[in-house]
Each structure stands twice: as structure tokens, then as C-alpha cells.
Symmetry: C2
Subunit: 123 residues, 2 copies
DNA sequence: CGGGATCCAGGCTGATACTG
DNA sequence: CAGTATCAGCCTGGATCCCG
């Protein structure tokens, strides 16, 4: 509605259970092959990895380089445009870390952030 | 895993279909009653509004002031701590706006960001 | 008025199997 | 190796009804 609301768009790019982790790997490791990403993120399935990578690619955050050969080889990297996200990502991360601190002060150390979304709260 | 990954935590607070809109309203209007929020966000159900407000409350972003009277009255506002989010929210928003621009340049004006998540892409 | 409790549908996620 | 296809389960979000 209002223009301010557009920050939902920013979130669209980051949501999806695995996007943060994927971006982390690519930001710190630079170019990575599909299989390297799989190894780096053991719990992710091929399907999810592919899917999230495609979304990031569509948003021009991640570049996909295909080498037509046998066996196939595909490399992923952060685009120049994507690198512009680093600042925000870092800010978001810093705030997240500080926020965990804040929650610790409020509720003590034995809390789980994840457990406190929606209906899990009142149990 | 790594400390950098904690920015997922930041996202936890923002995700949920309605949190951005709710925060927007509270940031711009200041203190609001439950019913005012409902009117301001016509499409949201009570359940969702309550649920999202409770999560924001747990995270100390939103304050809930209850007036024990008949009829009941409950007011919501951004906490002092919550106001510290304004910067990040603004940054996120600015990036989101710019990103829409970027996507327009890439794909033209007739695209839908929302339609390009997950499986909707390849249709 | 401001919720809580239930029930239900759809989408996202995950596991598995198959392909170029 | 790097995916695609299919199917199943869960969880989020929505609708409705009830309560103090």
C-alpha cells in the first residue's frame, strides 16, 4: 500500500529456510559448485538447493555458470549486484546477534528463538 | 552454525505475512488499539493479528497495554527497544524499493515479484 | 471489545526415485 | 554431476464460533 511497505520485497529475497545459509557460503567462499554447496550444507536436499538458487538467480543475486561437459559442472557465485547486499546482510546479522543478547537479558539464556514463533509460545 | 548465520534470527522477527504491515502502522501512528489495527489492515483476521502481535511482544518490539475495563481496551505501541529497529527497517525498505527498480530494468515493468518464488517460475 | 479454541485448506518442505 | 519429477507431511494462515 504505502511505499514504506515495500520492504516486504526485501524479505521475499531472504526468506526461504535456506537462503541465508546459501548466501553465507557464497559470500565467504566465492565461487562454488553445486556439489560443494551440498557438502557445505549437509541437511539441504537437492531440490531445495536448486529451488533457492534459482530464486536467487532470478533476483540477480546469484550467478549461475554452466559448463557443458560430461560430467556436468555448474558454478554459483554472488553477482556484482548481489554484492551490494552485503551491507544490509551484515547490518541484519549484527542486529540479529544483538537481539539474541537482548532476549537473553530478558528471558535468560535457556530460551529458543525458534520455539517462540506462533503457537509454540503458550505451551 | 557460524556467527554470521545469526541473521536468520533477524528475519524470524520480520517474517510472518503481516508483521511488516503491523510495524508500519505502529511506527507511523504511534499507539493503536486492537480494533484500530484491524481497521487499518482490513484483510487481516483477528487470529493473525493477535498471533503476530504476540510474537512481536515476545521479542520486545511491541508493548501491550491492557486496560481492565468493560468493554476491554488494549493498546499496542513500539517499545523503546523496538524503535532501534527503525534504521534497519528503513534500510531494508530502501533496498527493497531499489531492488524493484533493478528487477524492472532486468525484466521490464510487467513482472510480479511474488509470482517468482519457488515453483511458480517455470510455468 | 479483545481475544481464545477449533477446524480446515493450501503451500512449502522433504524424501525418494529417475535422467542427461 | 546436477539436476527433475512425484508424492507425502507439516505448518502457516484463514474462517468460524465462543468467552470474559
Amino acid at each position: 500500500m504505502s511505499t514504506f511497505c515495500k520492504f516486504e520485497t526485501a524479505l521475499e529475497i531472504l526468506v526461504g529456510k535456506w537462503k541465508p545459509v546459501i548466501l553465507l557460503r557464497l559470500f565467504s567462499n566465492g565461487t562454488m559448485r553445486f556439489s560443494e554447496l551440498q557438502k557445505a550444507i549437509p541437511d539441504i536436499t537437492k531440490k531445495m538447493l536448486t529451488q533457492q538458487l534459482r530464486e536467487l538467480e532470478y533476483h540477480d543475486i546469484v550467478h549461475r555458470e554452466i559448463y557443458r561437459q560430461i560430467p556436468p559442472k555448474v558454478e554459483y557465485s554472488i553477482t556484482e549486484y548481489g554484492k551490494g547486499m552485503a551491507t544490509i546482510l551484515q547490518a541484519l546479522n549484527d542486529w540479529g546477534v544483538a537481539h539474541i543478547e537482548h532476549l537473553n537479558e530478558l528471558y535468560g539464556t535457556n530460551h529458543s528463538v525458534e520455539a517462540h514463533r506462533s503457537d509454540a509460545m503458550d505451551k
